[in-house]
């Protein structure tokens, strides 16, 4: 039996590797990598898995985490990649954090903020006695310093756009910080989890030079998080040790080491031999990992959806009936069952069930090939001599593009080709190298008919970045979707502070987007973490991989 499994592993690896030279890390890279922010929530239907913890937590042990990403910078004000975020989540702590139900809860702050009547003044109170790794106390001055960086005209990082509503930030005393906004911004609460930087170390560095200040950002980052940074050997490992004075209690494990390997294949081998205790498990590796007796798999719905995007600038996809018919012709439940092996839920709108803004009362277009044919006929498409649907001499024929190396998207492309072929639509399924693919589908090229892609969602459900028509020319609205009502609500939604009211406004956006089908929403995938059975106390957060690591403990 063992040999058979190994043979399977081997064969799949040989296959994966033969794709390797044309493959790339495109699997999840199109998703946003900001994982520091969080959003208030009153709707906990996230199926978070908490592992059963037999016995009492015990101190000690070295936790080894497998990763294939090389970090860039250990400073949350600047990083843009998840490998860096994993480290800053351990070394630094923010005022607030998002919990596993995606609610914003206090971290270094005592409680939720006091918000003035007009929604323009937010006052946070810091817990007393929290220490940085060098023994200095965290005070309001450090918080003010951290957030003033975003506002500074010399700030070189990528996040200035998130703070356009912030007018100023000031310390009222050693522990109270007041943020003053120039207009109400419902997203603001989700910005309070950036790791607080030590003013006493960085205060003298000009903001323009801060991003390049390697002595702190790379060699010796100092925060108030549960783990102290020890060393980084590029391409090999990153070492952290427990912070004895962590305000939420000393971590159970003594050290955390990130072991860097080239790719998921290498990580799976390291997991099998017990060299690593933990890895994010790609869906394609699950069958292999399930055969390991010493490993547990944990799953939770990811804050993300996969879709087929139609290019609405192409005449073929102008008619909403055509897009609806294409969706109806594709059996998405079947895709979930086969390609995703059941590890996903069929999606109907571009909002995650995990979000408080989720609306399940949207128009749905379930699998109905006859209905699809009828709808296409209504839109003027009738079978031509070659069996392909035609209208005014134009054949219903197009190319569906995805990035090479991503087996799931390749399979979705091929299955779509078959489903649509059955109703007389000619589809070519093609793949391109990730960088070339992005270049082709993004502005200014926009050269595609249809793409298979995914969006990883931010904690705040604001639809502007992807659906507002002002984002067509140079932004991420690459389907070129235009709808005045959506624009209007998108513009207004961030100014509605009451969450229920805002959810109601956004519900209309999801309804419109579900009805108009600029995308065929495929599914909400689950994400998996593979962990040694020795690891206990793990909480699976849908967005933050390094969540509450100070509560993990080892039984060995």
């Amino acid at each position: 039996m063992k040999t058979k499994k190994s043979l399977l592993v081997l064969l799949s690896m040989i296959f994966a590797l033969s794709l390797f030279l044309v493959a790339c890390g495109g699997e999840d890279t199109a998703t946003d990598t900001q994982d520091e922010s969080s959003t208030p929530s009153d709707n906990n239907d996230g199926d978070t898995t908490e592992e059963a913890t037999p016995g009492e937590p015990q101190y000690g042990g070295d936790l080894v985490l497998g990763t294939s990403g090389e970090p860039v910078i250990f400073n949350a004000n600047y990083h843009q990649d998840s490998a860096s975020a994993d480290i800053t989540d351990l070394v630094f702590a923010g005022l607030m954090q998002s919990n596993e139900n995606l609610e914003v809860v206090p971290n270094m702050a005592v409680d939720q903020p006091e918000i003035s009547e007009d929604g323009l003044e937010w006052t946070y109170t810091l817990r007393e006695g929290i220490l940085f790794h060098d023994g200095e106390e965290v005070t309001a001055e450090d918080v003010v310093f951290t957030y003033e960086i975003f506002l500074h005209e010399d700030y070189t990082g990528p996040r200035a756009g998130s703070f356009t509503a912030l007018e100023k930030v000031e310390a009222l005393n050693d522990y109270e910080i007041k943020f003053t906004l120039n207009e109400p911004d419902a997203r603001f609460a989700t910005l309070m989890s950036y790791g607080i930087l030590p003013y006493h170390i960085l205060g003298d560095i000009p903001i323009a030079d801060l991003e390049d200040y390697r002595e702190f950002n790379i060699e010796n980052p100092i925060g108030s998080g549960p783990f102290v940074f020890e060393s980084w050997t590029p391409g090999q490992n990153i070492k952290l040790t427990a912070f004895e004075d962590y305000f939420d209690g000393r971590p159970y494990v003594d050290t955390v080491t990130f072991r860097i390997a080239s790719d998921a294949n290498a990580l799976v081998l390291l997991l099998e031999t017990g060299d690593i205790d933990h890895m994010i498990a790609p869906t394609t590796e699950l069958a292999t990992i399930e055969t390991y007796d010493h490993v547990n798999l944990s799953n939770v719905l990811a804050l993300r959806y996969d879709y087929i995007g139609w290019n609405l600038d192409r005449p073929l996809f102008e008619d909403v009936r055509v897009r609806q018919a294409l969706t109806m012709a594709i059996d998405r439940q079947e895709i979930v069952e086969t390609v995703m092996e059941g590890n996903a839920e069929v999606a109907h709108a571009p909002v995650s069930p995990l979000s408080w803004a989720y609306n399940d009362n949207v128009p749905t277009f379930d699998y109905d090939p006859e209905g699809a044919v009828a709808l296409l006929e209504e839109a003027g498409w009738t079978p031509g001599d070659d069996g392909i649907l035609q209208k005014d001499g134009e054949r219903l024929s197009f190319t569906i593009l995805s990035n090479s190396g991503n087996v799931v998207r390749r399979d979705i492309g091929i299955i779509t080709q078959q489903y649509l072929g059955q109703i007389g639509v000619e589809v070519k399924a093609e793949q391109m190298e990730w960088g070339a693919f992005l270049d082709q589908i993004n502005p200014p090229n926009f050269d595609f008919d249809a793409i298979v892609m995914a969006w990883g969602l931010a904690l705040d459900p604001d639809p502007s970045a992807i659906w507002h028509s002002k984002e067509i020319e140079n932004g991420l609205n690459r389907s070129a979707y235009r709808n005045d009502r959506v624009d209007e609500i998108a513009d207004a939604n961030t100014k509605i502070l009451d969450q229920a009211e805002r959810a109601a406004a956004l519900a209309e956006v999801w309804e419109i987007l579900a009805e108009e089908q600029p995308y065929t929403y495929l599914f909400y995938p689950e994400q998996f973490v593979a962990m040694s059975k020795d690891v206990h106390g793990f909480t699976h957060h849908p967005r933050v991989d390094m969540y509450k690591v100070h509560e993990w403990w080892l039984d060995r």
Partner: protein, 315 residues
């Protein structure tokens, strides 16, 4: 000789310049841009634009090339777009790992290939010769990655004799045995192709030599067969082999790309792969130029060695 070397060194300048222009042009023409690689709905278009501007990516290609070249002449290879570190440091961090792997695998290849090549030639058309020949062709035909995977599955996963990857055990201090333990599998995989080629070269070179008149003369003088083969034969047969080493120098980078990826070996090849996928222009250019310099120098060394070893050749 000295003037010859100086002339060759001077000629390297236009050659390297030409290589840099062509590499830059090809890299630039390839689809994909550095800053769109990491799309984040939370990062505004303005911030992305500002980043393009800071990296100089909005300049026309020839200006970018000139800027790059003028820094390189000053010894500055720039800063990685994605890793934000000086390219020189990134390469310096990884070069020793690649060199260790290369030197070790080359030694391995030589100590196995040359004796077998000689045996194969002296016992031409014997069972041993056929065995060595078939094995060499198998070695040449086996893809690196496949062999590597097989060895990992067998020795690391099934038998647990060797580590799955990396250069050393986590957390340990420097330990020579531990290093060798990590080195052995990747070195074997990397050595296989070289080994097979070298065996074939040695065999044919040796065959050519032992059919020469002076070998017959040596035998006629009554020397022992061992002396004839190793003292008179091998010394001369090795001349072309040694020059091959000069030509092998640039494969230091190329050959290691796949093996380093397979064994998570943090070397130049590993760096090159990720830089290519991320369109990290400064890193790509630096490694390409490094490879070009090695190629040119390797050729020069081959030519010089040839003259040194073979008194009949003069420049």
């Amino acid at each position: 000789m000295t003037t010859y070397i100086i002339r060759r060194l001077i000629m390297m300048i236009p050659i390297l310049f030409g290589i840099s222009v062509i590499s830059f042009a090809i890299m630039y023409a390839a689809p994909g841009k550095p800053t769109v690689m990491d799309l984040d709905p939370d990062i505004s278009v303005e911030a992305r634009e500002a980043q393009m501007e800071r990296l100089g990516l909005n300049d026309p290609p020839h200006i970018q090339y000139i800027n790059w070249m003028s820094n390189v002449v000053k010894g500055d290879f720039g800063t990685s777009f994605t890793k934000k570190q000086p390219v020189r440091d990134m390469i310096a961090d990884r070069l020793p790992n690649t060199l260790i792997l290369m030197i070790f695998s080359t030694i391995l290849a030589v100590i196995i290939a040359i004796p077998f090549g000689v045996l194969s030639a002296t016992k031409q058309y014997s069972k041993l010769d056929y065995g060595v020949t078939i094995t060499s062709f198998l070695g040449l035909a086996t893809p690196n990655f496949w062999l590597g995977l097989m060895l990992i599955m067998l020795f690391s996963v099934q038998l647990g004799w060797t580590p799955v990857g990396g250069v050393s055990t986590l957390g340990g201090e420097f330990n020579l045995l531990d290093r060798l333990h990590h080195l052995i599998l990747p070195a074997i995989v990397l050595a296989t192709a070289d080994m097979a080629g070298l065996t074939r070269y040695t065999r044919s070179s040796m065959l050519e030599v032992i059919n020469q008149d002076y070998i017959r003369t040596a035998r006629a003088k009554g020397f022992r067969e061992k002396t004839v083969i190793y003292k008179h034969g091998l010394r001369n047969a090795l001349i072309p082999i040694i020059t091959i080493f000069g030509l092998m120098l640039p494969t230091f980078i190329g050959g290691s790309v796949i093996v380093e990826q397979l064994f998570s070996w943090p070397g130049i090849g590993h760096l090159f792969i990720s830089a290519t996928f991320e369109r990290d222009y400064p890193v790509i250019m630096a490694i390409t130029m490094f490879g070009a310099v090695l190629t040119v120098i390797g050729n020069l060394i081959a030519d010089i060695l040839y003259a040194v070893l073979d008194p009949r050749i003069e420049y």
